[in-house]
């Protein structure tokens, strides 16, 4: 129900082919909404039938032809309608949190190692976001109305990553203090 809207937002920002969208969902917008190309092609087809997007086939030299999609007036109306709707309060769904909770029934050291792995991945992601922010929005006080929303969403990503890292640190410290399992010397 919501991939449609994520696609509409992305197409409203800039028209794209299914392939382009798939790559966008690996980057920028993809940090807050994941989608595979299979899913995107299917939903795009449905949206075309519904009249929310229109496609034009663009021939290219040295590359396969592509279908460029743009939102139609109906699509833009739907997008406006959707933005005006209150968003359900979301609950995180975290495999990782469940695993931490279950660590005492399993392999404690492996979970410790996993926490460190998660931390490293989020450090990397945070660095990526921060580089991106510095490059795209060097002066956050001087943003255009068009830049502001994407900037704020990126800020949310940065805050989320920092929090994740801090949480991992707290866990590693707290659990590390209690590891008498390393006296193998």
């Amino acid at each position: 129900m919501a991939l449609e809207h994520a696609i509409l937002v992305s197409l409203a920002e800039k028209s794209a082919s299914g392939y382009d969208l798939a790559r966008r969902f690996d980057l920028s917008i993809g940090f807050f909404w994941r989608a595979t190309h299979q899913q995107i092609y299917k939903v795009l087809a449905r949206m075309e039938t519904a009249g929310w997007v229109a496609a034009t086939t663009v021939e290219q030299t040295g590359r396969p032809a592509k279908k460029m999609y743009v939102p139609t007036d109906d699509g833009r109306t739907e997008l406006t309608r959707w933005t005006a709707e209150p968003t359900p309060i979301e609950t995180v769904r975290s495999d990782f949190a469940v695993k931490v909770r279950g660590m005492r029934f399993g392999d404690r050291d492996a979970v410790l190692a996993d926490i460190a792995r998660q931390r490293a991945a989020h450090v990397e992601r945070l660095a990526y976001y921060e580089t991106d922010a510095a490059k795209r929005y060097p002066e956050p006080d001087l943003l255009t109305d068009a830049e502001l929303p994407t900037y704020l969403v990126l800020r949310g990503g940065i805050r989320t990553e920092r929090t994740y890292i801090e949480w991992c640190d707290e866990m590693l410290e707290t659990l590390g203090q209690r590891t008498p399992a390393e006296e193998k010397t």
Copy 2:
């Protein structure tokens, strides 16, 4: 694939009926993993067939009989195997972030109001978590090994809620400065 494991963790903590589990997924463990009773009954049946859990029918006075589930040895083995497995790095999936990003194509004031609504909901949830933490873990330095994981997961919840609220504040401040739409006086 992961609801099974969330159920196994919950049953390892304390045996339960499908109904009990459904309520747990509305509370404690449910803050990091949602599941409806329909889904739980379906998955429990599958898990029983797989031999991960075993059920006993318990008659009650003045109430319908219930099926109490416990993890079997195979279930506990599976749980251990799963905890030892590295957890995929998760990406948030946020309708709300997509909506913020799309606000310039829609109803700006409605999105502003929605941000305030989200903030209020997360303030409420944070208060709930903090009350729960103060009640269940009054002395965080003196936790048992059994309490530690649930405590740490709750800490993650508290951190997440605080971050969400701060992010909403940043958005409201930044966007509020730019609202010349209220000069209706």
